[in-house]
Assembly symmetry: C2
Homo-oligomer: 479 residues x 2
């Protein structure tokens, strides 16, 4: 896990913050928020909020009281303790792309298969800058629909020993995730003590929480598992076209979802989620890596800190259809602000292509390269007398070069970050090597890493118990 | 010209700043700086500095006294007053790539020609985010070596009406640039009152200023034309391998060059220049878009502000051989910090490829796209009651969409930045359009923009006088 101890880049003035504060208070109290769950409505009613026709009109102070019960950070345990992460504070944890129905490999774009899911899990295990394969790294169409959450969870649990995300399609799927997590970690108590899954609960924005997602939220919160409560805002469609309006709405949605989580189980680990970009107002297509999204991201980090909550946002997002220059600059247009904003949980860190419809092998490797660079960039510089290398100047003098200086000889192996994908070869050498662009080189690296991959050790009894669970549940689910 | 009124991202503590301060003071006083110019040595001797064997050992306080004479900012006039820029403060001005001997167009890499130079000048004129074609946008091998500076200056003066850079190959070339600038702007007085050229004076780092560059410096400073005094530091070769050492050296070189400029003409406009990256310690190749370079860039902005000087750094740098994903992420890895650091004069903003050896048509357009996005991103958000769009929420309510809301209808044309190159088309539509990647689309845009180009108006008498000057001087130079 990366610790980002560099300064935060904050762009909202106190006055702007107060205006946004007025905005979300008015939304939750006057427009209200819809909750598609009788259980949720009943909890809010019991807590004294105005509930009518599936709508809750909140007292903003009540919302803040609930939010204050959430921890400002929490550990999320991995089965390999070395891969346990802290979500919050200066911690940044990175997971792979989440949700694509398609896969792209070279020039071929096709339906995602379980074999792809497993490959992306393996790649996530191999690259140390990634803390997680995430959850649905792609949606495998060849796995049976009703039970594929079992296959995905099993793959995440066995092919990696890093943290993983829980399934949120339904309350039942959430229960399966928790049951399998209990098996992997040796019982309910240990995962209730330190959460072992993190799950994405999306709002059906604007201002509506749907039943299926809420059912999953109930399960995870009851088991003290972490939930990322995420407004899903493509400005122009699910929010007004102005960024401040989207930010106020995002606060209203996230905080009311978090208030519900705290009513279910006070103190359960939650993350202030943000998925904020805009649509193209001519075509209606979602756009990623946009200036508006970057501004929203920086503001979101600042806002979440105000509420003393861990924050999820960012990633290597792009609208591009291929791992080309646009994919390169758009991904960084979101990922660099992700670091500037000090985001704690970063989904979609590797492999996202084509607006999240596609998981790309090449883009996965490209994103890992960018992540490594940014983790180096956001490591504070140590400046002391020794680092000034006066002796090297005394040795080299005017117009010389430092290649052979003693100071260089001592440090040359580790002084600079060495990229594994980026090329700085001279032209002739690059042509002799085949003249491959970054995407072609990334494809080769992906293949090589998969060939090298070795599964992390897992106790045979645990593996057997997990397999039995999956087999039994698949039968019960009729697949 | 862009005004960057967003906050600066500053990474150096007061203690770090003090350590660097001690570093440059020790370098200039103990190691000293070499000046390959008798005139320069004589000026320093007269000013009471220790001069011996071409070396000057400085009293750091003397250096600071000279530096204090330089303006913190200055206007640089263009022949079209609408294109005049301010170098300093919150101003950011952007020029194209500078110096490549090669051109790349599609899959063809070849020697640069004068026709390419002219085309890049035209593209620089067409795109409004660029303030200048720069100077040597490429090095045209088909123009005679001794007189090509005349052809380049003539092209910059006639094909664009934006600011341009002066030639620095020799004092004679500088005199030609100034003479042609006098013709274009109607005499010496007007350009002495408000400078009309900005010229790049590179240090032959470490700690050596060469005669030819200094001869150009003397000419430009005497004419009150702006000079960008730039240490050229590829860490590991021209500076020690530690970033703090490079920063201290950069200060020593820049400030002593600026001190000379102020001795030549007190108050003449100067820019604290930085060209700071690192080499690959295995191959010796220069690398661009590196984490080390980004850290250096952020620090450089902060340092230059400390000395109350305008600063040049940044650009769309990349080592990549093609306009691929690496070119996309590396360019942004430098260009985004350029904005965060509030750099005033940004060379290499468009077209840089392959470590600056190649001027690329496609990369030019890609960089312009990124620049437009960043200029939008670094425009402060206005947050007030109206921007919260409460009425739109009242209209749309829960789970609806904002596409047809009155608030959307009023603002949809201008609410978001619309890219001209990035694609967010759905896959089927993108395939129907030919499945072109960003580089292929950029090539088409470059061709279309060149076809649309119209030269800015220029007084016939001025054009004739410039032509006569070029013809006469070419004859004198024997070409």
């Amino acid at each position: 896990m990366f610790r980002n101890t560099m300064p935060r880049y904050e762009i909202l003035s106190e006055q702007a913050m107060n205006t946004l504060d007025g905005g979300w208070r008015r939304l939750v109290s006057e427009i209200g928020v819809e909750f598609g769950s009788g259980r949720a409505l009943e909890l809010f009613r019991q807590a004294g909020q105005k509930v009518e026709d599936g709508l809750v009109r909140f007292d903003p102070e009540f919302v803040l009281e609930q939010v204050a019960k959430a921890p400002s950070g929490f550990d999320l345990q991995a089965r390999n303790p070395a891969n346990t992460v802290h979500i919050g504070g200066d911690g940044m944890a990175f997971g792979a792309v989440y949700g694509p129905p398609f896969v792209r490999e070279g020039n071929v774009r096709r339906d995602a298969k379980m074999a792809d899911f497993e490959n992306f899990a393996r790649l996530s295990q191999v690259f140390s800058v990634l803390d997680s394969a995430g959850g649905v790294v792609c949606e495998p169409e060849d796995a049976p629909l009703d039970s594929r959450h079992l296959d995905m969870t099993f793959a995440l649990q066995t092919l990696t020993d890093k943290i993983y995300m829980g399934n949120v399609v339904s309350g039942e799927n959430a229960r399966d995730t928790i049951a399998m997590t209990e098996i992997l970690f040796g019982g309910r108590d240990t995962i209730e003590e330190t959460p072992a899954t993190i799950s994405l609960i999306n709002c059906n924005s604007p201002l509506r929480w749907d039943e299926r997602m809420l059912d999953a939220l109930f399960e995870y919160c009851a088991a003290n598992q972490a939930v990322v409560v995420t407004p899903f805002l493509l400005m122009g469609a699910m929010s007004p076209v102005s960024i401040p309006a989207a930010l106020a709405q995002q606060i209203a949605e996230a905080l009311t979802g978090i208030a519900l989580a705290q009513l279910i189980r006070p103190g359960c680990p939650v993350v202030f989620g943000s998925f904020l970009s805009n649509i193209d107002m001519q075509s209606g297509s979602p756009c990623f890596g946009t200036p508006e999204s970057a501004i929203g991201l920086l503001a979101t980090g600042q806002i979440a800190r105000r509420f003393n909550l861990p924050v999820r946002s960012g990633g290597g997002l792009t609208s591009s259809q291929t791992p080309d220059a646009q994919a390169g600059y758009e991904a960084l247009m979101t990922m660099l602000p992700t670091f500037l904003a000090g985001i704690n949980w970063v989904m979609h860190s590797a492999g996202w292509l084509e607006g999240g419809l596609v998981a790309s092998y090449e883009k996965f490797v490209l994103d890992v390269q960018v992540l490594e660079m940014l983790q180096h960039e956001f490591t504070p510089l140590e400046i002391d007398e020794a680092s000034l290398a006066f002796g090297a100047h005394d040795e080299v003098r005017h117009g010389g070069h430092f290649l052979g200086a003693a100071h260089t000889m001592e440090r040359f192996r580790t002084c600079f970050y060495r990229p594994f994908l980026s090329s700085s070869e001279n032209y002739e050498r690059w042509v002799r090597g085949g003249g491959k662009d970054a995407a072609a080189r990334a494809a080769e690296i992906a293949r090589a890493k998969l060939a090298e991959y070795e599964p992390p050790p897992l106790d045979d009894a645990v593996r057997e118990e997990l397999t039995e669970y999956v087999t039994r549940r698949r039968r019960e689910l009729g697949d």
